[in-house]
Amino acid sequence: MIAGIELGLIYAVMALGVYLTFRVLDFPDLTVDQSFTTGAATAAMIILGGGSPWLGTIAGFFAGALAGLITGLLHTKAHINGLLAGILTMTALYSINLRVMDGKANLALLREDTVFTPLREAGFQGSFVGVLLLLVGVLLVKVLLDWFLYTDAGLAMQATGDNPDMIRSFGVNTDNQKILGLCLSNGMVGLSGALVAQYQGFADIGMGIGLIVVGLASVILGQGIFGTRTVIIATAAVIFGSVLYRLVITAALQLGLNPSDMKLISAVLVVIALVLPQMTFFKRWNARRKDREARKVQAGVEPGAGTPATVGGRTGEGR
């Protein structure tokens, strides 16, 4: 249970990265599946080479960001479809990750000093204090991301995913925004990979496979429950979703399912989270909520404007 929460919190950094591309930029980025491993492999090699685990963790961020840069360039400069650009980078990264890991499929870090060593030695790992410390760390990443999205640069990035025509007409190069967003996102994913490798005590070439689904599950589950009214709420929901996802997995394992069934469960979870809102009951509930919100807005503007018109394609969707 506690271990599940701890893992959920570390994976939440990855899920925040997925939120940035999937929700903010409206870009389904599959690079995640391997940039996670790139971050883990980079950190592991630095630690095994005697480097500082903190340096390894930061290097994991930049290695992931580099992977994002490649996807961004393929998509914007080479005009390759976003999904395909991600798949291409992901495929190429598999080979690169093996190179980084010196041809080995698995690197053990059990006897090395990691960023979690002080935690373990103090006996905090797996305890309430450990969870608290991890939570503080994740919240730091969240606050940084929130702050960025509220700056002039961050607002431009949000608008790039929301209404590219509009933001271009105000002088923003949407290509650059997408590249920057992909770098940041995959940087966070790489950072998360570096941390997971240190937490688990190994980096594995297959550790990232199917991870995009885990990220999506966290984003969709969390935001389905908490909503997306503001960025601050939306990112908090992602962290909550990530922890919830781990708890569901832990529960499934305790029910006697095989660890090898987890990918199936992840996929089913995402499908449920995507289908549920389409059911009549939830539709009605959602429509009522939207209507109330719109009425509140209209109450303050244009007295007697009649029914609020939430016209247009994407207005109904939250983020």
Partner: protein, 277 residues
Amino acid sequence: MLTITDVRKTFFAGTVNERVALDGVSLTVEPGDFVTVIGSNGAGKSTMLNTVSGTIIPDSGSIQVSGDQVTKLGEHKKAHWISRVFQDPMKGSSPNLTIEQNMAIASRRGKSRGLSLGVTRSRKQQFRDELAKLELGLENRLGAKVGLLSGGQRQALSLLMATFSSPEILLLDEHTAALDPQRAKHVTELTERMVAEQHLTTIMVTHNMEQALRLGNRLIMMHEGKILFELSEEQKAKSTVSDLLSEFQKLQTVSGEPTLDDATLLETVRVTKEGKP
């Protein structure tokens, strides 16, 4: 201010669908000019506006803004001088961002965007003052998502966002066409007021001939990628909708095809029945 010289644009060149959209268009717009543009469907009105805004790069010819050569610059670079309002009210603002965030984005038009907060207290006050000019009460709902506003409100907001950062050139692409008559009237009035207050150099494409005659100090009529004729301020004052209509009919007898799109015809029928200009 704006000099368009012999601009040409052909779509799908070399294919069976080849279509000449701009066939040597030249136009000089002086500072403070308010040019209204009318013309039949496919006359090249929107294409001309799009080459000025940078959405479309012309095949040949040149475009200068205040002496700077901007022909080949992309849309986001031209935003330094030019702002625009789209026909679709949904296109001019970002639905998932709040009113104040949209205003913050607009206030940095064509400038670099750094890591300072987009919405600050002092900026909020400025946005509130600007929004009050719309007389829609939006200044009391700064934190509301734009997606919750009606089409008319969003178009009024788009207009404010395009104008309050004092662009050198304002482009309006049939920006009242998608609104119901009452909202269209409101947005038209706002346009008149904002352009007059800030002496904005403006080009407005419209299908509404009455509007084209009443607003602005120059009127140009386009047909098949060319500027057919221009009316100066004095000529405009003397002309009526039926004068313009007869010009269109002349074209029709030459080409043998109807030159007016349905929207323009309906508008014309409405205006002539009411017996106004």
